[in-house]
Symmetry: C2
Subunit: 159 residues, 2 copies
């Protein structure tokens, strides 16, 4: 991890949109557009609500209840993580997400009999990423951890 501040620019954003993870996220979002209302929207517009800058984050109360929109983004994000795990491992890793009305919760990915990933969720009402680039990289650590678990217990993941 680097502490360098990421400067968000158009070129960086375009690079972010071209990553497999963000492409997958966009596919999942557009798949829910049953009525074609978002057809004219750009990738940046569709992903805009996933971005919360430091200033925006500071403006959101520390304690808050997640609204349906942020829960929807959370579900889509972890669905995309599940697909990224599947792409690398060949195993379907289905997420099960549980969030309390106060915004605390847990997401668990299972494959076969194996818990490939388990993560505590906090501050769900402030779920978001500082830049598109950070969003594009957000799956890496999660998928790496899941793959490591699958490699440690291959037979359980296929049980």
């Amino acid at each position: 991890m680097s502490d360098a501040t990421v400067t968000s620019g158009v070129a960086e954003d375009e690079a972010a949109f071209a990553t497999p993870f963000v492409k997958c996220l966009l596919r999942l979002i557009r798949a829910q557009d049953s009525y074609g209302l978002w057809e004219g929207k750009t990738d940046a517009e569709l992903l805009a609500d996933f971005i919360i800058t430091k200033e925006q984050r500071r403006a959101i109360p520390i304690i808050g209840d997640p609204d349906p929109d942020v829960l929807w983004r959370l579900e889509i994000f972890y669905a995309a993580v599940g697909l990224a795990i599947e792409e690398r491992s060949g195993l379907m890793a289905s997420p099960i997400i549980k969030v309390s009305p106060e915004g605390f919760g847990r997401v668990v990915f299972t494959a076969g009999r194996l818990v490939v990933l388990s993560k505590t969720l906090r501050d769900v009402h402030r779920f978001g990423f500082e830049t598109f680039q950070k969003l594009a990289e957000a799956d890496t650590k999660l998928v790496d951890a899941a793959i490591a678990a699958i490699e440690a217990y291959p037979d359980v993941a296929r049980a």
Copy 2:
């Protein structure tokens, strides 16, 4: 399993209330009685809503949305199943339940890295048991399956 019809009587009910599973369920219910409103209630009264007779079940529409009360009973029931698994295995098996607004969902119990139990939920709006005796026996199959999984993968359950 027996196909014999269970006749519900006072003696049978008392026997049901004395089983470790129902005792645990009652403890969990009474633990949520912060204001002592249920202190005067009998065990039968506290568990009454867990019972749905065949006639009552027939009267409930096949498709329906689960209300908060039935979701609360579902959570308490599976929390008690988790404690029963813990009692027999010595491992904490925490349930994570996810139910769609239409009453379909999944409950997953994990211990360490092991999925000790995974169950599809259907018709959650009709969640209930025919008699107290059936409620008292409802944990057995689930706990047996969980214990079998833990015995098959003891190291994963402790990972």
